[in-house]
Point group: none
């Protein structure tokens, strides 16, 4: 179950933090580390701070964009400071752990995303997350070391996992009740299609986007869209485009 | 209440860990650090890793023995690996946090004691503790970095403190706190508008509705749509209808 969970570090500056994160992960039983455009990796400093978590570092995947890091993910949680202009579903680390294990138990793929040492995640990156996680901290000194933040979330994941593992073997939920969720890349393709369609019908002015796409991302992101719903939504967009382009469509004049 | 809690590090080898511990403490609202016979302190490495928790380092008390570090304490909890010859009351970090705050609220003085980087606490030192705290970890890779261990316990102390203070980090229900949700009748009018539009673009055949509307109701119903999102969705439908009806709409031909 823990192998469904990847830790994604975005634009990390200090290789020591990558090593520290790898060690914290392995301590808590996590093994999949993905680095988005790290400043300095591989590095002897990362090896030193990993302190034996060499297998995690050796298996680390390095990619160029957050989008690549999230391919195949069903649930994405990103760490965030509390105050954001754009309100977003917010959980604390404990709720994060519970949610991660609940979804991992259903076979879902999950990403925990951590931002840059000083600047965190950008608003655009945060909008790719289903949930934001805020680690409660001293308001006057709120920024945790990156590896320490990974440690806290990985610890809560392990606590939630132990609580589930400690129980009698779980009765698998009936297939019907758990339709497979759309993956992150399917959601991205949907948002691209939606944006294009909104431009074509004249609702979205690319010159004045008015936060329209972030708002729609937030709306659909909250809803945990499953695959059959996704194909309905894509079908609606395709038909709308046909209408907008004056192509023959299914409409019958009554 | 948090000022009744001291963190005691015994025989720390690496000054970086002292700095990391100071940062983790200050992040979680703790301020009293006591070092028992550290190998190298003060040190620029400690300052660097403290990353702004200079006041914690400046106020650090350096003593020669654990006994001195514990003067005045009513409750002492020491970190420990799970398997010890000596059976002792054992708690996990969450129970530790609850216990610490319960006692601190009564005005008690509490110490959280952490051992050496590689060897932990000796049996003699462990016997000075009322409780042992074990951080659950991967049995094959169980030794946490010292600053990471301080982070986990300090985090649990803060969580317990927040719960008592009544300011436990609240889950921000999607929008509920900041933006008003659409009412049930607004949702109904939206579904009517959606259905009409889907018929007009030819996506929904009223003769063969294929459970389309119930599925869309379930999708949007899950999402707790707020009023500003509702007006976006209604706007999209209105523009789509104009396109379907061949009415002039906002689209500019590029």
């Amino acid at each position: 179950m823990l192998q469904n969970i990847r830790v994604v570090l975005v634009n990390t500056s200090h290789p020591g933090n990558i090593g520290g994160a790898a060690r914290a992960m392995k301590n808590m039983g996590l093994s999949r580390l993905v680095l988005v455009d790290p400043l300095d990796f591989p590095s002897p400093e990362a090896d030193a701070r990993a302190s034996g978590a060499d297998d995690v570092l050796a298996g680390t995947q390095v990619v160029a964009t957050l989008e690549e890091a999230l391919v195949g993910c069903n649930l994405v949680l990103g760490t965030s400071a509390r105050d954001r202009r754009l309100p977003w579903p917010l959980v604390d680390p404990r709720e994060c752990g519970a949610k991660v294990i609940e979804e991992a138990a259903q076979g879902m793929e999950i990403a925990l995303v951590f931002g840059r040492e000083h600047a965190g995640l950008t608003n655009e990156e945060l909008q790719r997350c289903h949930f934001h996680v805020h680690i409660p901290s001293n308001p006057d000194f709120s920024s945790l070391n990156l590896a320490a933040a990974v440690q806290v979330l990985a610890y809560e994941v392990r606590m939630a996992w132990l609580a589930v593992e400690g129980q009698a073997p779980k009765v698998q939920k009936p297939e019907a009740s758990t339709e497979e969720l759309a993956t992150m890349d399917e959601m991205e393709r949907f948002y691209e299609h939606l944006e294009k369609t909104l431009v074509e019908i004249g609702f979205l002015d690319p010159q004045k986007p008015r936060h329209l796409m972030p708002r729609l991302r937030r709306l659909y992101g909250r809803s945990s869209v499953n695959r059959s719903e996704m194909s309905i939504l894509r079908g609606i967009l395709t038909e709308t485009q046909k209408v907008a382009r004056g192509e023959p469509h299914k409409r019958k004049d009554q």
